[in-house]
Symmetry: C2
Subunit: 255 residues, 2 copies
Amino acid sequence: MYSFNFTAESSSNGVVERDFTVGDVPGVLWSPASGATDRAPLILMGHGGGSHKKHPAMAGRARLLVTGCGFHVAVIDAPGHGDRPRTAHDEAEIAELFRARAAGEPEGPIVVRYNEHLAELAVPEYQMTLDALQQLPEIGADGPVGYWGINMGTAIGIPLVAIEPRITAAVFGQHWPDALAEKAKQISIPIEFDLQWDDEHISREKGLALFDAFASKEKSLHVNSGKHKDLPRFEADSAVRFFARHFGPAVTPSA
Amino acid sequence: MYSFNFTAESSSNGVVERDFTVGDVPGVLWSPASGATDRAPLILMGHGGGSHKKHPAMAGRARLLVTGCGFHVAVIDAPGHGDRPRTAHDEAEIAELFRARAAGEPEGPIVVRYNEHLAELAVPEYQMTLDALQQLPEIGADGPVGYWGINMGTAIGIPLVAIEPRITAAVFGQHWPDALAEKAKQISIPIEFDLQWDDEHISREKGLALFDAFASKEKSLHVNSGKHKDLPRFEADSAVRFFARHFGPAVTPSA
């Protein structure tokens, strides 16, 4: 068993932000101020490597979903990230990543194995979080649930979605197929997948191979010119429309 | 010199439709009923093979652009299409395409060479049409001009955009690189490109090669699962948002 508690609440520009803990995992739930108690779909998000649950990329995407669609949005800190302690293993892997980066060596092999390790820990945490959030009357046990995570959010999200039937639409992108393609083959829900055409870390062939692996009848790939970190802002708008298309928005999102 | 004449006008649900001829080429111009005389961007569209200027796919896309963005939209019949006569060469190529299709042979080589022939005729016709439309006060000589054409509309549009500096953003897709990649290398304006992942006519490698050929610093590829004719409707909405992003809508398009 786990405990679930709200630990803080604030509100700004139409969005209610509630911090929570589930077991010893800290998370945040964003909801529409005008309808925080109305039943609406939930989007679980996963943050990127070296980032945390309230990074501006997370808060910005949440705002689009909450104010654009009337959805609830939740993120938890990944193991070793945000408000969570780092283990000796975390420290060693991060040091190895920085060493490789400084030496101009490929980062991929380190990111792949470290993210795979974190995903093994994070998947049950996301399931526990979903169990807890579905107890809230404004989310409920039978409403639509989506998942949105790029980079490390994909490394955690693909293994999660592969075994979690409550999640019925997902946005992924920008990771390697090495540890993920076999799990992607178990996924058949609608997906949207982002890839950068000039990614200096993930080759086109690797990126396309991961997209290709999904068993989904309905899948979309969005490729944009530019390097790894140049993923355009408009892809966040596109992801919001993807969820609105599948879950039906409470509010019609604007462009 | 050429003559330009409006030959018919009607209006429905906020869209004014004006038929025109430029030389002996028939075309249609769709404009906002509420602002047909207001200066606004122009999107030139190219229809698909075996289709015509007022095919529902054209009228539907025009309606999205006119009512969603307040833009003007024009299409002309391609040579041998719509209200235009077929030559003996047209008849022979169409017969050859149907023969190959019935025999289960690849259609690509015939479509590529026939569309290349039609593009040679159509490119100066589009330029003449643009010359004429830019004389209209509601379009003008210095406003933004876009191009949107998939399939044969891409076979005509890539050679057009390669030599036409007045066009500054374009949506293409679903064609072979054989006759087009060299011309795509001359194009550096922002583009959005559609490709079907399970296209029975155009291989993934060929489709990706054509996208890769564009010299554009800003280019986006949208791949969707499904066969050649399964291009999802939501890609039309995406193309509209693409033009709105680059030309600034008179009206904010809804999802």
